[in-house]
């Protein structure tokens, strides 16, 4: 009985002393921090994607509170979120255009010439072996390096081709950095018309290896409402994102290789590669 009492007493005494030590230490070594940082962190999406260039949301929140960056620098947060943060901090939030990623290639396995590949299933490793197994030197290799890098699961590998889902993509740009072919670009989310080809080769050379390559026929350039809506660069045509064409261009132009697509249509898998 006495042993139990003594040990209880001892434990209680030890607890009291340690509590005192912790209490004093908490007061003495307290770190001053701006309480607004925590609140702003809570307001941010919390994806920790790093798309803003900071090491996670908390770091970004600190930068906002310090005034180093505006709250709309977060690519994930919606405009309302940014305004909410700005209101809380008593600053003004500017409008920022929402961007989404586009993989400039439409050559899936069924549309392109490929050689057998037996090695590490990662685009950045595969590209070291003969530039990837694809016949086209510029196209998507399809080993999902971008899909693995995407914090929002917005990239799907379909038929050996990376396809971005515009409704899921927030435009953080993580995928842009990992693509060894520099295929992925961030484009304004409001523009839906894109040319899904990246090869600067001559039309005939492209057609040899890919059914859905842009062959530079300029049908879309002629069909566009104004001349500079589509830009011509050698044998490759690209959307002019400063003066974008309307979505109906895809139907009007009737691209012979279907390289000209709507991002939504491409993501839904509505477009099949054709060879006319």
């Amino acid at each position: 009985m006495i042993i139990i009492l003594v040990s209880l007493l001892f434990a209680a005494l030890l607890g009291a002393i340690l509590a005192l030590v912790i209490g004093v230490a908490a007061k003495a070594f307290a770190v001053e921090s701006d309480p607004r940082i925590e609140t702003v962190t809570d307001m941010l999406p919390g994806a920790n994607c790093g798309g803003c260039g900071y090491a996670g949301c908390a770091d970004f929140a600190k930068a906002i509170v310090e005034g180093a960056v505006p709250p709309n620098d977060c690519p994930v947060a919606s405009a309302e979120d940014a305004v909410r943060v700005a209101d809380y901090l008593g600053i003004t939030a500017e409008e920022k255009e929402k961007m989404i990623a586009v993989v400039k290639c439409s050559g899936g396995i069924s549309d392109t010439v490929r050689s057998p590949y037996n090695g590490v299933e990662d685009c950045r490793s595969a590209v070291l072996v003969a530039g990837g197994s694809k016949g086209c030197d510029y196209g998507c290799i399809g080993f999902a390096s971008c899909a693995r890098a995407c914090p929002f699961d917005a990239i799907e590998i379909r038929d050996g081709l990376a396809v971005v889902h515009p409704d899921l993509c927030v435009g953080c740009g993580k995928c842009v950095d990992v693509c060894p072919k520099d295929l992925i670009v961030l484009t304004p989310a409001a523009v839906d018309v894109h040319v899904y080809c990246n090869s600067p080769e001559k039309g005939a050379a492209k057609r040899k290896v890919c059914k859905t390559a842009c062959i530079g026929c300029r049908k879309c350039v002629k069909a566009a409402d104004s001349e500079d809506q589509m830009l011509i660069d050698g044998f490759l045509i690209a959307t002019n994102y400063d003066n974008p064409p309307l979505p109906d261009l895809v139907e009007k132009a009737a691209c012979p290789t279907t390289a000209l697509r709507l991002a939504t249509q491409h993501a839904a898998g509505d477009t099949e590669g054709v060879s006319k």
Binding site: S115, P116, N118, G119, V120, D122, R124, S125, L128, V129, A130, G131, G132, S133, G135, D137, E201, A205
Partner: protein
């Protein structure tokens, strides 16, 4: 106890014994070459270092089935003249040469097509006389389309070499000879394609005392260097002497693997009256890798990230030596090379002397075509060669072999987890830890890979070859090396 130890020693010495012979230098020739040699050059050949004898081979290595018998007995034949050659512009490590010709130009055989665009660059010459019909992109050996000059032959095959032979090269200035090596566009023909003249220009702070000619040809299947050493032994030896003269050395050593006794014999015969020494080497892949060859011959270890010149050595390929001999003695630039066309599916595997720009498809035709469909086509040997997806790729200065592999030898496997057997560690000729590094790379820890000296990897493929889990170790290291180099470049830019 003492008895036991001596017995063991014996076994070791037996195991590592290799053919060695130092050729007596006849007074007349040694006198001749002595002229113009700086006093600091060692009196005796460095072979004394070698024959003292401990390190006969490097540590590690593997023994793949060499399959050289397919083509080793076939003498080198001159490939017939083609109608068209497509010469790839960038055939060397370093800067691509600057193209001088344009479409429609008439060129003579040996005429300058592209001029070296810097110090580490190599000039390119026309393989035959004819017209430049296109300067366009064609399929390259690494799978990426590269710039190439198409020459339509006129059938005359008339020489128009940009330089004259240096008949009395024994008394020529070293600088003139070096300029000739550079003008002739000679590169390392063993596979790397490193411009030869760069290796012959060591900075004054790094004195060279040993010239090594690489005739190891450790890659399985390849016999191009073997046939060259056998049939053109004198030219190889003369090339060695020219290299020695440029470097101000009096001697040179040719390292040949012991599986080519006839080549060793021929070289010894050819070098009998010179101070070029022929040294047999243990048969062990990658014996022909520069650093491993230096270690086997001199016992010196090239430091990590260093060059052979850091340990006073210069290593040149035997085919490059023959090319330099052509450039100096005959006044011919480097426009052809001996290439082994081999593999079980071929009807007549053999060795041919191809002009640069000969398509692979033609070489396969020359070898009698295929008996059955091969599964893989490689440029180079099976260990380090590049898989090809096009038959339009053309022969370059560093194309040592064109190899067709049947389906039963191409295994399609998936890589399994590392079982930590340590085989890769014991076979790695550079003494790094492939298993540990590959795990770091799989987790994208390139900093850790760099710390584990992945940059020392020579990509010989021994670890991938021996791994029982079929792990793509070599590919992991390639990735790590490219990532680390890219990161360093970025840092430098900052």
């Amino acid at each position: 106890m003492i008895k036991k130890i001596t017995k063991r020693k014996k076994v070791i010495s037996h195991k590592t014994s290799i053919i060695e012979e130092t050729i007596e230098i006849s007074p007349s020739t040694s006198e001749k070459i002595k002229d113009g040699v700086p006093a600091s050059a060692p009196e005796k050949s460095n072979i004394s270092v070698i024959s003292r004898g401990k390190p006969r081979k490097f540590k590690g290595g593997v023994h793949p089935n060499d399959s050289k018998a397919l083509s080793a007995a076939s003498p080198v034949q001159d490939a017939p003249l083609l109608d068209k050659y497509r010469v790839i512009v960038h055939q060397n490590i370093g800067a691509p040469p600057e193209v001088l010709v344009k479409k429609g130009d008439e060129v003579k055989k040996g005429a300058l097509l592209a001029k070296a665009s810097g110090f580490v660059s190599a000039s390119l010459h026309a393989p035959t006389s004819g017209t430049v019909t296109a300067i366009d992109k064609c399929d390259g050996p690494t799978g990426i389309r590269v710039a190439a000059i198409e020459i339509t032959a006129d059938g005359e095959d008339e020489w128009g070499s940009p330089f004259e032979p240096i008949a009395d090269w024994q008394n020529a200035e070293a600088a003139d000879l070096k300029q000739r090596v550079s003008d002739a566009g000679v590169v390392g023909m063993g596979g790397a394609g490193f411009p030869s003249h760069v290796k012959l220009s060591p900075p004054p702070a790094k004195p060279i005392d040993t010239l090594i000619l690489n005739g190891a040809e450790c890659e399985p299947y390849l016999t191009a260097d073997h046939r060259l050493m056998l049939e053109q032994a004198e030219e190889v030896v003369a090339g060695a002497a020219i290299f020695a003269r440029i470097l101000g050395l009096k001697s040179a050593v040719i390292g040949v693997e012991n599986n080519k006794p006839d080549a060793i014999e021929a070289l010894k015969k050819a070098s009998a009256k010179t101070n070029v020494t022929v040294q047999g080497l243990a048969v062990n892949y990658p014996q022909g890798a520069e650093k491993q060859l230096i270690y086997a011959l001199t016992g010196r270890e090239v430091p990590i990230g260093g060059l052979p010149m850091d340990v006073g050595c210069v290593v040149q390929n035997v085919a490059s030596a023959a090319a330099v001999n052509d450039a100096v003695v005959k006044g011919h630039p480097s426009i052809e090379r001996i290439t082994t066309v081999t593999g079980e599916p071929l009807v007549n595997p053999g060795n041919w002397r191809f002009r640069l720009g000969t398509p692979i498809s033609k070489s396969i035709e020359l070898a009698g075509g295929v008996k059955y469909q091969p599964a893989k086509l490689l440029l180079g040997g099976p260990m380090m060669g590049f898989a090809q997806s096009s038959l339009d790729v053309t022969v370059m200065k560093n194309t040592s072999g064109i190899l067709l592999i049947p389906a039963e030898q191409v295994s399609q496997y998936t890589s399994d987890p590392c079982i930590r057997c340590g085989k890769c560690v014991s076979c790695c000729p550079m003494g790094i830890l492939p298993a540990t590094i590959s795990q770091a790379v799989e987790n994208e820890r390139f900093d850790m890979a760099a710390q584990l000296n992945v940059l020392a990897c020579i990509e010989c493929g021994s670890c991938s070859y021996i791994c029982p889990s079929h792990r793509p170790l070599n590919q992991h290291f390639k990735r790590a090396k490219s990532e680390i180099m890219a990161a360093r470049k970025k840092e430098q830019k900052k």
